[in-house]
């Protein structure tokens, strides 16, 4: 059973993930895997709810408030599954606060794009992130 199939459980953003918000998107970086992701505005609105922990049912309800049609529940679940597959979500965490998510533009299908090349785990030096050459 996937993380998002457990309707009563709380989902939360993995503590290893940092996020920055841009005009119409956000960028997520997983400090553990070094992979980074771009998400669109609707995706970022959902991720805001996950920063403090949220139940799937609450996420669906909030998306409907943002203008998502009832049939969008499937794409929201797919979005959450995609984040969970890559370890960006953890399940069962106690909510640490009340999510104050907002969507500043019309609802659209939430999209996450995983960038192909992760950042280096081991690098040449504190200034040079290149792959170290063998000595």
């Amino acid at each position: 059973m996937s993380v998002t199939e457990q309707g009563t459980g709380t989902l939360a953003l993995n503590a290893e993930v940092v996020v920055t918000v841009l005009e119409n998107e956000a960028v997520l970086l997983d400090l553990q895997t070094k992979f980074f992701y771009s998400i669109n505005a609707s995706g970022w609105a959902i991720v805001q709810m996950l920063e403090h922990g949220a139940r799937r049912a609450d996420i669906h309800a909030q998306c409907r408030d943002w203008g998502a049609p009832p049939e969008a529940a499937g794409v929201v679940d797919q979005f959450l599954d995609r984040l969970a597959e890559d370890g960006l979500l953890v399940q069962g965490a106690t909510p640490t606060g009340v999510a104050s998510a907002s969507l500043p533009c019309p609802w659209s299908v939430p999209v996450v794009e995983k960038h192909r090349e992760p950042l280096q785990r081991i690098m040449v030096s504190a200034f040079d992130p290149s792959i170290p050459l063998a000595e």
Partner: protein, 345 residues
């Protein structure tokens, strides 16, 4: 003890003071927005640290943040860390209860309190070549960490400016940043450096990039295409790891060293053995973001990582990207970069 500005032996940089010749005194080095005061009783260690700090020879106007760097000898063995904050080829950096501690296989350590202004490098009493290399790494950690604490993001990239354009030149080490920079200088561009820059959001929200070093590391074969660099073979190598020679930009291209810019473009450089001249393609936003993130070290500290990510992602949004593929003898033609210039201007 008097303060000796910017000199220990042969090393100096641009803190504006005069040399006193007093080798036992602390020495002051200006490294971008930092004023680093080095205290090192051992002349060998003092010269090694000075050598590293004096590379940052671009004058920055005050205010500068003061940082103290003490270099001491002690035979206290610290186990190699796990690199929870940062993992480098020869150095592991870990978060401690009150700050950071770096450890290296030679026994060299480097530590500071978080956000603090005092660093300590401790080296074994038996100083060998490994220790000296590890001091280079430790000095790099002191600077890059202190710069981040001031809100700057160290960027492993070159930059050229001209006609309202500022292009960041990105590639891995040895990937061709210096040679492309030289080719653009030859066409009238100015450069902020070929390898190390600082980036931050300016007051207007646009990114601001500043120069740190006004010298190039040139491979002797560069002279084949750029006769103005002269015979580089006569210069000493500056590291056992590379054939490159260190030369001052102003010595070769007077008037072509710049100090700051507002980045407008990102150029992603790669070498291609199977093409002639330069191949150019536009980069999408995702590729620009990826290229920029791959030119910066992002430590495993949430607050710092968020700051770096935020700065780079915001900058990437404002940059137009160009992929440049460079054939083996492309620079034999001085006009080879003209199509690239047309895309930048």
């Amino acid at each position: 003890m008097g303060l000796q500005r910017g000199t220990t032996g042969k090393a100096r940089n641009k803190c504006g003071g005069t040399e006193t010749g007093n080798r036992g005194a602390p020495a002051l080095f200006c490294c971008g927005p930092l004023e680093v005061t080095v205290s090192a009783p051992c002349p060998v260690l003092r010269d090694k640290v000075a050598e590293g700090l004096s590379l940052y020879n671009v004058p920055w106007a005050p205010p500068r943040r003061s940082v103290a760097l003490d270099v001491i000898e002690a035979d206290v063995r610290v186990p190699l860390g796990r690199g929870t904050y940062l993992s480098c080829a020869r150095m592991q950096v870990d978060a401690t209860d009150d700050g950071l501690r770096a450890t290296s296989p030679s026994g060299t350590t480097c530590s500071a309190a978080t956000g603090g202004d005092r660093w300590t490098i401790t080296v074994p009493q038996a100083i060998d070549a490994r220790v000296l290399i590890d001091i280079e790494d430790a000095v790099g950690l002191v600077l890059t960490t202190s710069w981040r604490w001031l809100g700057w993001v160290p960027l492993h990239a070159g930059a050229v400016v001209g006609d309202g354009c500022c292009a960041l030149l990105t590639a891995p080490s040895g990937g061709g940043k210096t040679t492309l920079t030289a080719a653009l200088i030859r066409r009238g561009w100015r450069t902020l450096g070929d390898d190390k820059l600082l980036l931050r959001p300016s007051g207007s929200g646009r990114p601001e990039v500043r120069a740190l070093q006004h010298h190039f590391n040139l491979h002797p074969h560069t002279g084949r295409w750029f006769p103005e660099v002269g015979d580089l073979e006569r210069l000493p190598t500056y590291s056992t790891w590379t054939e490159k020679r260190k030369v001052r930009i102003e010595d070769i291209w007077p008037g072509h060293a710049g100090e700051q810019g507002t980045p407008t473009h990102l150029v992603l450089i790669s070498r291609r053995q199977d093409i002639t001249g330069l191949g150019l393609t536009r980069l999408g936003h995702g590729d620009v973001l990826s290229a920029l993130l791959h030119q910066a070290v992002i430590p495993n500290d949430r607050a710092i990582a968020r700051q770096v990510l935020s700065t780079l992602a915001a900058a990437a949004q404002r940059l137009q990207g160009v992929r440049v593929e460079i054939g083996p003898e492309a620079y034999a033609d001085p006009n080879c970069v003209a199509p690239l210039e047309a895309m930048l201007r």
